[in-house]
């Protein structure tokens, strides 16, 4: 089980984020839930990439580094992309939250009833 423990802990983090999105009424808390879920997924990618005893994937002019000793660099590139996408989503959600606050004077989504029915 030990070999999977980091993945499981990471999944716990993901579930906490999803739980917040499903159960909270406050817009800010929902946004926080989305952010935490994003963090968990990014962490998962880096966990998948880690090689025991590996080195970071950067060559140096002063030091001899074997390419075989490096951790998997591909997921690092993917995480960089996914972090940016996360920032974009978060910024857009914040803008919506600000506007909704301007319209309703509250962050409580159960008070926003325009669409029910």
């Amino acid at each position: 089980m030990d070999a999977y423990l980091p993945y499981v802990l990471c999944l716990v983090l993901f579930c906490i984020g999803i739980y917040a999105v499903i159960s909270k009424r406050n817009i800010i808390k929902i946004i926080i839930g989305v952010i935490i879920a994003e963090y968990a997924v990014n962490l998962f990618l880096i966990l998948v990439a880690y090689k025991a005893g590996g080195r970071s994937p950067i060559f140096s002019r002063t030091q001899e580094i074997l390419p075989e000793a490096m951790v998997d660099p591909l997921p690092h590139a993917l995480v960089l992309t996914s972090i940016v996408i996360g920032l974009a989503t978060t910024a857009f959600l914040i803008a919506l939250a600000v506007r909704l606050y301007g319209k309703y004077g509250t962050f409580d989504i159960s008070r926003m009833r325009e669409l029910r029915g």
Binding site: I22, I28, I32, Y39, P73, D108
Partner: protein, 181 residues
């Protein structure tokens, strides 16, 4: 790897605080702590590029969250869960969690032993093929530059989207429309 478990534990504690604490400012600060922990984990797992980006983005996100939303008086008021929200949330996350526990053992690579079928190519050829000593840079800007074009476009879309959402009014008034006809 004991420090990894300690840090992930800290992140879990931080995110629990973030979603349950009543004061929204504390919640956002707790998210900041979680992001900081994530950035340190990235460093431990030998991903300095990602760690740098993560911490910078973290600062930007927290600044946006605090400045844009939290300096209003009523905003600090806490509102609770949705009716049945907590039960639904626990049921759903529990379901996902159990399925994942069952399926992870068959198919996922062990922690610390990535498969690296394609990616062993990149460290071996990055300097010769692209001239960059930072292999991650070589991947995001050469081997997979098309992804980076997409990523930059996502941010561009978000900027235009924010401008769109923040403009007021969105629709022209009826009398203006009559004039233009």
């Amino acid at each position: 790897m004991i420090e990894l478990y300690v840090l992930i534990g800290l992140m879990i504690a931080g995110s629990l605080i973030a979603i349950e604490v009543k004061n929204l400012l504390s919640a956002v600060v707790a998210v900041g702590v979680v992001g900081l922990g994530l950035s340190i984990i990235f460093l431990i797992l030998k991903a300095p590029d990602v760690a740098l980006t993560q911490i910078v983005v973290e600062i930007a996100a927290v600044v946006l969250l605090i400045r844009a939303t939290l300096n209003r008086d009523i905003a600090m008021k806490y509102c609770g869960n949705r009716p049945f929200g907590a039960i639904m949330g626990i049921l759903f996350t529990g379901f996902v969690f159990v399925i994942a526990l069952i399926t992870f053992k068959d198919g996922l690579n062990l922690f610390g032993a990535p498969l690296m079928t394609v990616s062993q190519f990149y460290p071996l050829n990055a300097i010769e093929g692209t001239g960059a000593t930072n292999v991650v840079s070589a991947i995001i800007l050469d081997y997979r530059a098309y992804d980076t074009l997409g990523e930059a476009t996502v941010l561009f879309t978000a900027v235009v989207g924010v401008l769109t959402v923040m403009r007021s009014p969105g629709k022209k008034k009826e009398e203006d429309l009559q004039d233009s006809k």
